[in-house]
Symmetry: D2
Subunit: 334 residues, 4 copies
């Protein structure tokens, strides 16, 4: 039996997920779509032989939909997730889970009341083979206990609508989640450093930004988030342990020797870098939903990322280090 999925939001990432669920993922099909722009929803519906619903709520309640994927505008995420819980349907929500910590807490409360995990957050990097291998290396003890992390998140250029906060909430958020997951602990404090601005960034945009995080055990993390690297989309991560280090490799690419140079290409678009991770994420989610047991990032993970992002933004505004204060983690999320 194929899992029947309804997709809310049929813009860029939503369309890509519909294609993926149809052409790449086995055991699932997209049966329903909706979008604030009815025209593009209808177009997607037609192309993929799905139903087009006027609202997300209609889609969520439809008997043609077993599970929901949310890829709509960020501020709408929380409302749709709550509706899914109310309808008792599994939901994969693109990050962020919500735009406020209060909404994250509301979602956790609803989920706990329901009595079972229904919510997964779209932190796809956890499904990247290299990050997974990195976690295995850390856990194997080969590099000793982690002490430091050096990470870089570089886009080639930023989109027109990019804002200072989005450096944290859209880009940095992936780093916030993946490092929590790799280190298996929460953050204690957060700070943002800014300095010389890249002339190629929009006027007034603080770019690059350095995000400093420290975990409860004292692991020190420095993350360059650079929206205007100029040269490509480049994700780097090195964990420094007590006896060695482990580092993400560059994505492999042909080696060319010509004109006095040894060269390999770097991705220029984010969409090229995590193709396999997105595929793995969705396939695992479909498999998990069919087995009725989620294994991916939870509402708690969405909440922790939200709180951390808030702290970073406050630090940038205040110029000082600020504490990252999470509620006590409910046993439900252990």
């Amino acid at each position: 039996m194929e899992l029947r999925i309804g997709v809310i939001g049929t813009g860029g990432i939503g369309r890509d997920h519909i294609r993926r669920l149809t052409d790449v993922i086995t055991g699932a099909k997209v049966t329903a779509v909706t979008d604030i722009n009815k025209e593009i929803a209808d177009k997607a519906a037609k192309q993929y032989h799905a139903l087009s619903f006027p609202t997300g709520e209609d889609l969520i309640e439809s008997p043609e939909v077993d599970a929901v994927l949310i890829a709509s505008w960020d501020p709408t995420h929380a409302g749709y997730v709550l509706s899914c819980i109310q309808a008792g349907k599994y939901v994969l929500c693109e990050k962020p889970l919500a735009t406020t910590a209060r909404d994250c807490l509301k979602i956790m409360d609803a989920e706990m009341s329901y009595g079972k995990r229904l919510v997964q957050v779209g932190f796809m990097r956890r499904y990247d083979k290299d990050y997974r291998a990195m976690k295995e290396v850390i856990q194997s003890g080969r590099i000793g206990e982690p002490l430091l992390v050096h990470a870089c998140h570089r886009n080639r250029t930023h989109i027109t609508s990019h804002s200072n906060d989005m450096t944290v909430t859209n880009s940095g958020i992936h780093e916030i989640d993946i490092l929590r997951w790799l280190l298996e602990e929460e953050y204690a404090s957060a700070q943002v450093l800014t300095g010389k601005q890249n002339k190629n960034a929009a006027e007034g945009l603080q770019d690059p930004q350095i995000l400093l995080l420290k975990t409860k055990n004292g692991v020190q993390i420095g993350i360059e988030v650079n929206m205007t690297s100029g040269y490509g989309y480049d994700i780097q991560c090195e964990i420094v342990g007590e006896t060695g280090t482990v580092r993400l490799p560059d994505p492999s690419a042909l080696l060319i020797r010509s004109e006095g140079k040894h060269t390999h290409q770097i991705f220029t678009e984010w969409s090229q870098r995590f193709v396999d991770a997105y595929d793995n994420e969705l396939q695992q989610w479909v498999n998990d939903v069919k087995k009725a047991t989620l294994s991916g990032p939870s509402a708690w993970d969405g909440y922790a990322a939200c709180i951390t992002a808030d702290a970073l933004i406050r630090s940038r505004n205040s110029g000082t280090s600020v504490p990252v204060t999470l509620q006590r983690r409910p046993e439900f999320y252990d």
Copy 2:
């Protein structure tokens, strides 16, 4: 509508293809299996909810089977392929297409009589992203016209049943095909060099062997086929052109610094190296069959590889370079 596939041969590679068609490939399902060992066929049939047929011929003729995948013992390939053509069914035959050039010709004749391409040979490397990118680089002119090829095919250890000929027909055959495909021309001559034997190879086994090929345009190719590298499964290829070179990258792997060394892992098993290529090959074949137009390696490619392998084996026995003599290529295969 899902393509209903019958699989002949449910040993190692056959089983892996059944899993792949079921769990990874979209738009297809395995509906029938058969094996010379009835027991393992029945087991696979049960696990995958398929029918178990007593013979390959029965499977091929079954109305439950739209297309056939052959992964049985090499000497049986040609017979099954001919039956598929007779039944007018698409067939993907694992390499080699046949064990003799005469059988390859028989298959081409049958296919031409049928009037349409039905046969594809399982040279999966053509679906590897790096080889594909390499072909694009060559065609772009960035390195000028190809002059030389340096290739290595290294297994960690050989299987017990490995023979001197199998170095050419089982391992070298992949190099023979992929280089024809990259260079887009046929071979003119072939030679095998042997020298010092690896003590870790079975007694009497000539390992490593150096395969020398020259194309009709004079491109010189040297291929190390090494069944006992001792350290891993390692495929290397460098094309030297008139103004530059292009080289396959090592598969990317985490970079670890510890104990005075910078290290990354190398695959040890062949099955790890071309996972994506096999996935792409089968997905593309399924898509092509549904559109009733094959785009993968043809019976002609199987024939050319067979003739080249024969020439190499004769060279090893005679100690001299021997010509590679192909029939004129029928327009049917252009």
Copy 3:
């Protein structure tokens, strides 16, 4: 005519410089030595056919000495340098120039009174071919204006006498100087971050430490100084510019494939890493002295490094960012 050099301090680094001046450098010879430990001075004198002097002052004043190299205990540097200026002799002083900013200023005053540069500080990294190439890349504009620096200074293990301050004054000092030199500007502020301690470091030692510097133009610098990396001596540096980045390569080393791994060695001792830089530094200094025009790091550079190190140490003690306040740079040092 060979330049006759007197060496003050014949311990580890001093002995190495004597060997270098004798066996590697052309146009110079060591004619005089001295050490607080008369015995080891006499031993070096005997081996290298030099005179052994009871005190540094005697050596400096000797007519057998054209120029002086100081490699004695840090607190003695300033005094010897002042004596050299008084004697009108060129002096290469191992870092630090002095242990206090006040002594640095005294040296600059003396040198300015003398009316000509006599003092060079032993920041040998400026003579490393890769750092030099890096500076050329920056100046070429190929990566745009520098915005960020990521640097690492990792020792395998620390010496017994290592202290928290020495992380800055002995190891970090090289980073402080080389980055000033690469970026061609002064620092505006300094901060040290500490967190989880490496269990393999001595009790009470804050290791690793993160040094944060910001230049007057706002370039943000993060330096990991790690005295107990466990795996090797490893110096890394990446400059992130407005359109690209430039990074030091790993020192080249043989590539070995064995046992499922691709490996190259990393240096374990600092003495292996900058051999050529030390050779180049001394050869250039000898050549410069003969031409009576110094081109290497000046007393001002020693002073700027000292002030910056002081600021970092104060920051570590206070837990906040502190300003780096230099006197106005005398035209004499432009």
Copy 4:
């Protein structure tokens, strides 16, 4: 006491050696020069405060000359070397030792009659740190016994006067020597393969050429000698052993990320690649001569290289593999 060296031949490489002996090497000075072109000899003499001699023989006999370096036109080498032996003076002769095997034998006879090694041949690669490390790895047994060698010798473009034979005698000769030295055995057979010609090479020039050598123990060697690689000067070497491989690294160079590419520079001129090897070679030779015991490549090595080059050239002309037949090695050269 400085070793007084006379240099025969003050063209490109000769001038470079004079500079090196003067500015880089310790313990030696150039006291005499000569050249077939008197004018350039006088110019060099003037610049380096040396005597200019009308003939090589005059220089060799001069009491101002302790040892001789020969960097003149290839056909003159043997005569000058014989004169040096007659004069009982140490001589470093740039490769080749002689242009005929017969002259090599004559030199060995003269040297044996003299009763002591006086002759060293300028195979500088033996002084390259990476080749030396490679030899250590082989001898350590880390990769098992060597079975295969893959080597490349690539120039960016060839000089106007380049001929087919020079591919072997000028460029290939370095590979011939270094591989004998690495493997510590002699060659048994030799073959040259030619194929498609590079359009950017001069008309009629067979470029690239593949040199195949097999050692007495059966190690198989393939060497690409490519005078028109188009992209740079690139020397590669991989030794494949029974349990692993060892490979020369690319010379280290800055890593630049810009414009969608990760790039490092490749040398374009041969003179950039072996600077340190030449320095080490000459310093070691000067030290050895002073101790009156040579440790570098001997007349026997020059003879073996000459015989091998002859065999390769005969193979290219005949199109078949030819034996490499050396005289029995005199104990004198063990």
